[in-house]
């Protein structure tokens, strides 16, 4: 899906918007328009998004937000990216109630009935996007990075 060279050379390489948009369209039903004010780059196993501006010629450590990890299959959206773009999702999104949200925020797994396809999902609570979950065999497994979790109060189911 992208030049292999970026994985080898470990530099930021521009990536076509249509390639990135297609991934989000397929999994979450998000239209390409949601990304119209962004540019994309690939470096090693990650895809990054930044506003649509020309970057001065500098040596960069990070360009905008890391939105996708392609280390494993399927590709995995970051929680930060879902919090920005996930509100345009038309599928593979789920709403949690308060108790479910707390378990999710603690980084836990729980049985949830849902029509979502197996794979990564956008997780909502009272209109906020909590982040990325993995839905597998009827279980929702929180993918929140450690530093974005709340302390444990609830027992895992």
């Amino acid at each position: 899906m992208s030049p292999r060279s970026s994985r080898i050379r470990n530099v930021f390489e521009p990536l076509d918007r249509s390639i990135v948009a297609k991934l989000w369209q397929e999994r979450f039903g998000i239209s390409e328009q949601a990304f119209s004010s962004c540019r994309f780059f690939r470096k090693a196993n990650s895809i990054w998004a930044i506003g649509d501006v020309d970057l001065p010629a500098l040596s960069y450590e990070a360009i905008g937000m890391r939105i996708i990890s392609c280390k494993d299959r399927p590709w995995k959206p970051t929680t930060s990216a879902l919090q920005v773009f996930g509100r345009y999702a038309t599928k593979n999104a789920m709403n949690l109630n308060k108790q479910e949200a707390m378990i999710f925020l603690e980084g836990g797994s729980q049985v949830i009935e849902s029509g979502c396809d197996a794979g990564y999902v956008v997780v909502f609570y009272r209109g906020d996007i909590l982040g990325c979950g993995l839905y597998s065999h009827g279980k929702l497994i929180s993918q929140l990075p450690k530093e974005r979790r709340i302390e444990k109060h609830y027992q895992e189911q």
Binding site: C38, A49, I50, G51, V53, L55, P56, A57, L58, S59, Y60, E61, A62, I63, G64, M65, R66, T78, S80, Q83, V84, L105, D128, I129, L130, E147, R148, R149, I150, E151
Partner: protein
């Protein structure tokens, strides 16, 4: 604490200044408008029973009565960012506009970077520079948590940041942090005139390079959280001084309505400094019940 005695002559109501050092500072946070409407956020806090009070001088600033504000869900979701009250001043003085190109020369952990990004409504470009590898991680993580899409991170020594023609540059310099005593008691024990003079050499080089990297008509804001004139007025004087006579730079008055500043000093240790330095601002902890800060605004002619 006796170290503070060297400021006896320049700080108004010195006794109150000394006394306030032992009083811990309340927690504070900034509302991140990239993620939530201020009204909605305040409503959430009320619902959750979190006690807060909006700053009088900045509608996005909040004093929070919470023991670990970092653990609030609103913080984890990036709807607020825990930030010292006065740390919100330099970006307001910088006054970045959507679509501009801005350099934040000493950026980590990114409290000011993300405030600048939000003032620019996620448009344009902020280069957040931070040489320390260990400090890049918190900078990146704050940008991502707050939903920032207009920041790119570089890792130059600010003295050698190579090129650019920025609309605005912020130099929130490494400093002796005397103004943080109320937050982390013991800071003052590590301060001395010698330390300030060492830092001054670094700060002057950073500010000189910032002035070089700014386009004509552009703005440079220099800030520290310290009182030492060696790290404040003397740095500004030396950085603008050399070309200052030809009028290459001028200082603009720093003033935030609702917050009381004291004018930058124009005399130190019997030495006369440029009169225009009185346009720079000193913020003292006993005057507004805050930490301590120094802010200068320089226009490149």
């Amino acid at each position: 604490m006796d170290h503070l005695d060297r400021y006896r002559e320049i700080v108004p109501d010195y006794a109150a200044f000394r006394a306030v050092q032992c009083i811990p500072l309340y927690n504070s946070a900034r509302i991140n408008t990239l993620k939530i409407e201020p009204e909605k956020l305040l409503e959430r806090l009320r619902e959750e029973g979190v006690l807060f009070q909006s700053f009088e001088w900045y509608h996005l600033g909040l004093k929070l009565d919470a023991e670990s504000p970092g653990k609030l869900l609103e913080n984890l979701l990036g709807q607020i960012h825990i930030q010292e009250e006065l740390s919100m001043v330099p970006p307001l003085v910088l006054d970045p506009q959507p679509g501009e190109c801005v350099l934040d020369m000493c950026a980590s952990p990114g409290s000011k970077t993300t405030q600048i990004a939000q003032m620019m409504q996620n448009k344009g470009l902020v280069i957040a520079n931070e040489p320390s590898l260990a400090r890049v991680a918190p900078l990146r993580s704050n940008c991502e948590r707050l939903g920032v899409l207009n920041v790119a991170v570089t890792r130059y020594d600010g003295r050698n940041f190579p090129r650019g023609s920025f609309d605005r540059v912020l130099v929130d310099a490494p400093c002796s942090s005397e103004g943080r005593e109320r937050r982390g008691p013991g800071v003052l024990a590590r301060c001395s005139r010698e330390r300030s003079l060492d830092l001054k050499a670094l700060q002057v080089s950073l500010l000189k390079n910032a002035l070089r990297l700014t386009r004509a008509g552009g703005v440079v804001v220099y800030s520290t959280c310290t009182y030492a004139p060696e790290e404040n007025e003397l740095v500004v004087q030396e950085a603008i001084g050399e070309s200052g006579d030809s009028g290459a730079f001028r200082l603009e008055k720093v003033r935030i309505p609702g917050l009381k500043e004291c004018p930058g000093i124009t005399e130190w240790n019997g030495e006369r400094l440029k009169d225009e330095l009185s346009a720079t601002a000193r913020y003292y902890p006993h005057v507004n019940d805050t930490g301590g800060f120094y802010v200068a605004k320089i226009i490149k002619n």
